[in-house]
């Protein structure tokens, strides 16, 4: 069952990569990359049990942290870039709502 999980994870990761390449908007790509990162954490955890190396779990933990921080960082970047591009009207509304 571990090997089947490994294969299913690889299939899911390839499907997420297809969406990340095809994605029409930038948010589709970010969504696919987020999913890819989560599945990478799972892949490392499953590989740790398949090959019997319990040290890999630390790498999975650190990868989960980096994945979350990078997704939030990229989202903030595009959010602020969009605010600056849309002029003062939208920006003032957002600042007032914040």
């Amino acid at each position: 069952m571990l090997n089947a999980t490994l294969i299913a994870l690889l299939v899911v990761m390839s499907l997420a990569l297809v969406r990340a390449i095809k994605g029409p908007s930038i948010h589709d790509r970010i969504l696919a990359v987020n999913m890819f990162g989560t599945k990478t954490v799972l892949l490392i955890a499953v590989i740790c049990f398949t090959f019997g190396k319990p040290e890999f779990l630390d790498i999975a933990l650190v990868y989960a942290l980096i994945n979350f921080v990078s997704v939030i960082g990229v989202l903030r970047y595009f959010e602020f870039r969009n605010r600056n591009q849309n002029g003062t009207r939208n920006g003032s509304e957002e600042l007032a709502s914040d």
Binding site: L15, P24, S25, L31, P54, L61, F78
Partner: protein, 130 residues
């Protein structure tokens, strides 16, 4: 006996996790809209992760690996909905472009049921031809 039961339970949990994961990936690939894609990915992501890590925890037994897996599961349990929420909020803030595209695509998507309706006809014709 208890080892056999643990093996079957972890296999079942891993299988359910794979099923939800594949469902979410197919939804991510096939859905027409960004928000429905995010629904498919965000809903299945947390559940599949928790199921697969629970299956691995049953394999690990009482050890340090169990604690690390519990940490990973706790972290993903909190960060995956947070990332989905941040993504939806960012998409809504950029919605000036995102909502324009589905509205423009609306009439273009309308002939799609006709195309889908014509597909069984062609199949029937092919069946009659054979």
């Amino acid at each position: 006996m208890i080892d056999l039961l643990l093996g079957y339970t972890s296999g079942l949990l891993l299988f359910l996790g794979c099923f939800f994961m594949l469902t979410g990936a197919i939804g991510l690939l096939r859905f027409p809209d960004f928000y429905s894609r995010m629904h498919a990915a965000g809903v299945t992501d947390t559940l599949a992760t928790i199921l697969i890590i629970a299956g691995l925890m049953l394999i690990a037994g009482w050890s340090l690996a169990l604690f690390k897996l519990a940490l990973i599961m706790l972290f993903i349990f909190f960060t995956s909905p947070t990332a989905s929420h941040a993504l939806a909020r960012s998409a809504q803030l950029c919605a000036l472009r995102l909502t324009q595209t589905p509205v423009e695509k609306g009439p273009a998507d309308a002939p799609r049921p006709v195309a889908e309706a014509s597909a069984p006809v062609s199949k029937m014709e092919a069946a009659e031809g054979t």
